[in-house]
Symmetry: C2
Amino acid sequence: MAWKAIGIFDSGVGGLTVLKEVVRSLPQEDTIYFGDTARVPYGTKSPETVLRYSRQIANYLLSRDIKLLVVACNTASAVALSQLQKELPIPVVGVIEPGARAACQVTRSGKVGVIGTAGTIGSSAYTKAIKRINPDIEVVTKACPLFVPLAEEGWVDNEVARLTARIYLEELKAQNVDTLVLGCTHYPILKEVIAEVMGPEVTLVDSAEQTAITVTRILSESHLLRPDGEQGNHHYYVSDIPAGFIRVGNRFLGGRLGDVYQVNLEQEQQDGGGGEEEA
Amino acid sequence: MAWKAIGIFDSGVGGLTVLKEVVRSLPQEDTIYFGDTARVPYGTKSPETVLRYSRQIANYLLSRDIKLLVVACNTASAVALSQLQKELPIPVVGVIEPGARAACQVTRSGKVGVIGTAGTIGSSAYTKAIKRINPDIEVVTKACPLFVPLAEEGWVDNEVARLTARIYLEELKAQNVDTLVLGCTHYPILKEVIAEVMGPEVTLVDSAEQTAITVTRILSESHLLRPDGEQGNHHYYVSDIPAGFIRVGNRFLGGRLGDVYQVNLEQEQQDGGGGEEEA
């Protein structure tokens, strides 16, 4: 029996932190990752545009015969998840709900902090998801726009990262949150410096980890898990020149990024395949 | 007699530093700015894609009856300038040549530093432009990816900016350049901290300033300058939701950004106008 792969997409390289956690939890599973590097970032685009792009990518991954789709992008999760769940014949998992659920379980004080990009924080996606689960929880949010470029530059444990984290997180710390959701797929890369600034009494909720837990549960419940002991293969696709993707991707995955292929999604839609070339 | 405007475009908000210098030099001129916020950044896209986008924008601005076009984007200047100069019936000015020319005039040691985004530095556009003018000049380059997000966040004179500048510029300083080209339209925002780190013996060449000087010279030579004493009007267009553009644009222009309108370039191409709505 051939086992289908898990499909994962993001607007760029950030979703690789989700891939990493999925592979850590389920090393036997094949994965197909798609990074929409031609059209990154999604956070500044209109909801209609993000939904259209997400559909194109979902259909491309479906044509590669996946058994589950992870929307490893906060903007696409906020804007396109429920629509994709309605339209696709396979389970679709976003990154917001798992992080929100974990935060609600972890907090004792009922005061939760959420950090993310300006787009994610502006959309209130995490606040809404947390309030849907438990309306009594108080949510304090903070946009941290410099964390993404710091993570991509690999400045994760130097003085600039530490000082930046202190400036952004001071305010949340002063408000005594006991739980902090890392609401951006890039932020796990900066986890250590964030933990250092927030102190040991604050629990960090890593959306990437929580998403991997949700994926494992769904595949297990639907009896779609590949047997333990097998070794998964991992394929990477991008929509534009992958030079930056390869450099940053290797940083995110600890140097274990494989070959990356470029796919022209618009061509793909017209001729149903073949718009692919090795980078 | 109706005086035509100066058209200026960039992939996003960065070109506003060029607009600011043009307005400072020529307060009597009308300007039309276009920021391609739907498709920013250009630096990671293929040359064919950047040329296609640049042509679309140039044609849109031409349809608004401009007398000169400034390509206030380093990537588009490197990739599309000569083609636009061939195709358009008006003068077209890029941001690379003016900065390169000024650096060649300013340096006494013959050792010039250039800083820019990873895309601009990787393209060697400034090195090639400087070498074309004077092959004996030694050029030392350094990509500074965090400068753009620092400028957009408005962190231009805090400890994070200072420390970041020190890390990036240390190496150039050690190599004894006597001239430093700010090869990115965002960098003038960080000029003070860059000057502080480089020290008084290094002359900074601001591409935005030099581009404004070139624009003034060309309009003057072609007798297209509007008479002194008039007061120019300034219009701003973007290709996607302008929320971030307005916030950062006001920071770049010192709060003097006017109304910003959204234009759908694809629709514009089909029906020749009308795809415009106030933001």
